[in-house]
Point group: none
Chain length 395, copies 2
Amino acid sequence: MRLMSVVRKGAPRRAPRLSGGVDFAEPSRAIPTDRILIGDCVEQLASLPPHSVDMVFADPPYNLQLQGELKRPDDSRVDAVDDAWDQFESFEAYDAFTRAWLLAVKRVMKPNATIWVIGSYHNIFRVGALMQDLGFWILNDVVWRKSNPMPNFRGRRFTNAHETMIWAARDPGAKGYQFNYEALKGGNEDVQVRSDWLLPICTGGERLKDAQGRKLHPTQKPEALLARVMLSASKPGDVVLDPFLGSGTSAAVAKRLRRHFVGVERDETYAAAAAARIDAIEPLPEAALVAPPSAREAPRVAFSALVDSGLVTPGLELTDAKGHVRAVVRADGTIALVNAATLAVGSIHRMGALAQGAEACNGWTFWHVEQEGRRHPIDVLRARLRAEMGIRSEE
Amino acid sequence: MRLMSVVRKGAPRRAPRLSGGVDFAEPSRAIPTDRILIGDCVEQLASLPPHSVDMVFADPPYNLQLQGELKRPDDSRVDAVDDAWDQFESFEAYDAFTRAWLLAVKRVMKPNATIWVIGSYHNIFRVGALMQDLGFWILNDVVWRKSNPMPNFRGRRFTNAHETMIWAARDPGAKGYQFNYEALKGGNEDVQVRSDWLLPICTGGERLKDAQGRKLHPTQKPEALLARVMLSASKPGDVVLDPFLGSGTSAAVAKRLRRHFVGVERDETYAAAAAARIDAIEPLPEAALVAPPSAREAPRVAFSALVDSGLVTPGLELTDAKGHVRAVVRADGTIALVNAATLAVGSIHRMGALAQGAEACNGWTFWHVEQEGRRHPIDVLRARLRAEMGIRSEE
DNA sequence: AAACCGCTTGAATCCAAAC
DNA sequence: CGTTTGGATTCAAGCGGTT
């Protein structure tokens, strides 16, 4: 965590620095990381050196074009996203805005960097077409399926239950981009991760509130979503840029996963709240993040889903039934053996087999967690998650 | 199935007619249905009367043929916008093609018709943006999640496990489009249907094969997908247009679901195979397709009709569900609040709203009558009157 | 203590017939 | 055409208070 330590040196618990432009205390042409730049993203990005970020996550305005107000069947009013920053005069105006920030972002991307952009049907088609026009090379579109979306109250459309993320390389033919295929697969029951992800929206304690207890930001994204993005397409020490930082979810997750962040935010209230939020984050132990594994195996249902759900926390210790063998849960859903002579990282099944010297192992029954002084197989956590998710949600 | 019978009259088991243009045997300006038009879809659609189809399903080609040009070595220029030039030319050609067929399709859509377009990340963003540019009004984007997608063999991306459908109305502000909300909900555990659908890809016996046993068409869609589309947004007797018929899935499903189809296909081999396929389809029994009575479409019954019919007597007391609020029925079909400080008289809805301090209220469910010691919403009386009226009207 | 109930809320392009 | 009025319409979670 070289660059992270620069900012935190001598002030380990202070908030990230807020800056209106380039920080000249930084080495010339080195990108100032782990801070929030306040201002218009196109202007702010122009002050950064070219080819300096490894990954971009962008959550631009969606241009919702809402008409009147909407009420629930119980006559309560839906708190719509009617903020000024989401208003555009026309598709042309939105396109010009989009083109400008995409170009500004592209300049600061390293040749092998990739970009993620999230949106809904209101804007994602325009964004995707412009990305193609500007020479980005789409690698996947990834669907975020919301486990608890807002329903369609009037019964006139399908429940708008997903958002779309476009994952793209900077240039056509890019081959050296970061994609942690084996780690993702190892955390997904050794099955390739698909282009549709099921995750809940951001509610409860994770949702930032203002002094009056109202939601601070209308469109705060869940940390689990950003964690999947960064665990997929970046590595510890990378610089992650977010040109529309908002409530700071991407920066908070970057810090937790030991990536560096550069955030741009126009609204000072949002920026200040994000800074405080980021400051409170404690990075995960490095052991929970290092070294992608190389694995191959069989069965179903993802251990990483337990991590996403919060039932299992990265860093949690797993043991066998008798407590002799120990392992640590990693953020991507793989586990690392603790007492191994060499670093051993992989799926719960493969690591279980390795620990026993067996060819195969059912990690769900081999590994245990200690709760209230008693050891339970992690299979009970899986059963709990299945129960929570219900029959409909993940067919 | 009026129009269907025109084609099948005198030749009940023959294949749909193949035609190069307008069939002059049809009544002038009536759209020729249940046949395949062979040729370029823009040209063929120009021969059809305007405002003549109820729903469109389009699975356009997206072979951009860009691979060769785009795989040249990555150069080191700082600004890669120039790189996009060649591909912009190619994208432009695709855009021109897309714009042309979308306009041709729009002309033949009825004002309340809707269109579905399916695609992948290669083309769907361009198609969606152009649809917005041409004035279509997006209602939903619907994700087809493939339960058995093709794996990603090289491990450099996520498994491409979905395709995207855009569902749009012909014009902004369209409200009268067909959407079978209640039927869909009824078939989905009484929960409204979401924008992500899980369905297997087309394999096995459903997949058309050529004489050599190879798959006839590279992108044959599963009939289950088309069935969900048509069951969602059309009704029996509707005319469904498919400008890129291919192997004929949409027409086959339309016939089975007792919709009429108009298919356009440029490739004669595909058209012939589709014709044979469609010919073998047996429409489902009408009883399997009739729409269940929906509350939204039920004939309106005024509260005064209950008074007129004698089901409700002037002077009868109404209360809310808990018996706190009381009102009295007046002879003209209005009601009067009993405990109001000032005299309050009006419709069951207005008085219900007033009693609650709400802006709106469904008086049919708010107000109750006491019968045999139990409270029933007055909606049950309305249902009884509707039943009696239904019996009378059929006599 | 665990279960249960009621209330709140989330990126939303969310009515239709009659007058 | 605009305006008024009837009356149809919601799912999953989290949280707090009660049983």
